[in-house]
Symmetry: C2
Subunit: 256 residues, 2 copies
DNA sequence: CGCAGCCTTGATCGTTCTCAACTAAGGTGG
DNA sequence: CCACCTTAGTTGAGAACGATCAAGGCTGCG
């Protein structure tokens, strides 16, 4: 449960006592999913809540004639389908993007758990708020950024989130296909390929066996207009190379 | 508080007793905002929660060189800035799109209130989940739909939400400028104008003094690929003309 | 009446898409 | 161990959707 705890703690310290209740809770079941396995299916009742231990998942929706839109990725430490707390039907799919290990709670047990500790409840509120913020940023990304900016911005977000989840590596273990990136960013795989080639030629990123390395963080951040504030991560978690240019806090934030 | 109650009740009945606590809560203050007034400013600490009584608000984010992206609209009955519960800094603006009346709670008072009633708390969870779902749909809209589909889809969503909030009217009181629509849908005002002209010529919508009337609901829904499920509104609230074609539940929902 | 803001329409431009062919890498079976 | 197959990435050429630039019209308001 370390990744979860680390994650929840970033908002506010969880008292040892509350944590005990949580981690010894009998309803927890750890499950493994294969790469590509569908974890949540649109139309099925949402009745369980997942916490990612290891691996990646993607949430997406299909619309007519095969178009797919990935709305977001769930990484190590992420909680998902909090939606199940309202016992609705899932309106999207969740699929393991890599082999995935996750804790699974029934939403009923989860609610019981939350009632027992206001601290835990607050942590989950925070998780929900953070996810909303990530979704909003995704809207801005695909609504108002160019292809190059979109790709750079998404890479920076994923890098940031992976590091917040404890990754020490400099490279992003980004075994996402061009099609995944395209379906996330509202582009075509062909154009993603072209644009990433350009980023490579410009010396901003490099790739090796599905790992992406950011070669020039500063320039990439400027290019993307990346400001990590929306992730609401405490400073302690960001590396010292992550100084965020206050790009979008000056003239940008003026009311129109 | 009727609009709020109606809204919250759509998820689960709130016991009279719990409602009493809520509506007589002394911390509530009703405030009025002028059209165009900034209600929440990016960078300011988020410390209050709003419930819309009357009017519209828009939430948006500014990025470099004046680009604006509206992430969503808050209508009658909507609760916003639940984010304040985690006492973070706002990462976006909220602005009154029309003259606006809203109840304002301090987030602290709000938390107290929520602790007193699990029913009320559950209702707010539901509100948060619904908002997330709306955000995800917005991502799909701008990521994978054409300009025509985007406009049609947004109009249908707004109509649906207005009706769920109690509007009896057939027309949508949509005093949004083309620029607003453009900034919501990731388009330019010019292209929105052109596309809406086309929808008018095709007899799908008509406009009069900022009111938009949907002339051919069925065709528009098909065109937009609109499936209201994501709004998670109980059927009781939808008019009988709102039969939703199960467009996106057949082949569409197959895993790729 | 005149200004300001918004909408509309036309002409042209450009980013991104589509279609298509080729390459590279990995897996499988003979 | 190599031939074959599949899947993903790359690159080119041309098309299309939406952007940009620009001019003119309508409406409301001081």
């Amino acid at each position: 449960m370390d990744s979860l705890r680390r994650r929840l703690q970033t908002f506010s310290a969880i008292p040892e006592e509350a944590w005990e209740k949580f981690s010894t809770f009998s309803g927890v079941e750890v499950r493994e999913f294969e790469k590509g396995e569908i974890i949540v299916r649109a139309g099925d009742p949402a009745e369980v809540i997942f916490i990612v231990h290891e691996g990646w998942a993607r949430r997406y929706r299909m619309i007519g004639d095969g178009r797919r839109q990935i709305t977001n990725f769930m990484l190590r430490g992420d909680v998902f389908d909090l939606q199940a707390l309202s016992s609705l039907k899932a309106d999207h799919f969740v699929q393991a993007a890599t082999p995935l290990t996750a804790s699974v709670f029934s939403s009923r047990d989860f609610l019981t758990l939350i009632r027992r500790s206001g601290d835990i409840a607050a942590s989950f509120w925070w998780a929900a708020v953070q996810e909303e913020s990530i979704l909003r940023e995704q809207i801005v990304r695909i609504g108002r950024r160019t292809a190059e900016e979109r790709i750079a911005h998404l890479l920076l977000e994923l890098r940031r989130r992976l590091r917040a989840a404890g990754s020490e590596e400099e490279s992003i273990d980004l075994r996402l296909t061009r099609t995944d990136l395209a379906d996330t960013l509202g582009l075509t795989p062909v154009h993603v390929s072209r644009t990433m080639s350009r980023l490579r030629k410009e010396g901003l990123i490099s790739e090796e066996k599905g790992y992406i390395h950011i070669e020039n963080l500063n320039t990439l951040q400027k290019l993307a207009g990346f400001d990590a504030n929306y992730l609401h991560l405490p400073m302690a978690l960001s590396g010292k190379d992550d100084q965020v240019p206050a790009l979008e806090n000056g003239a940008d934030n003026a009311a129109p």
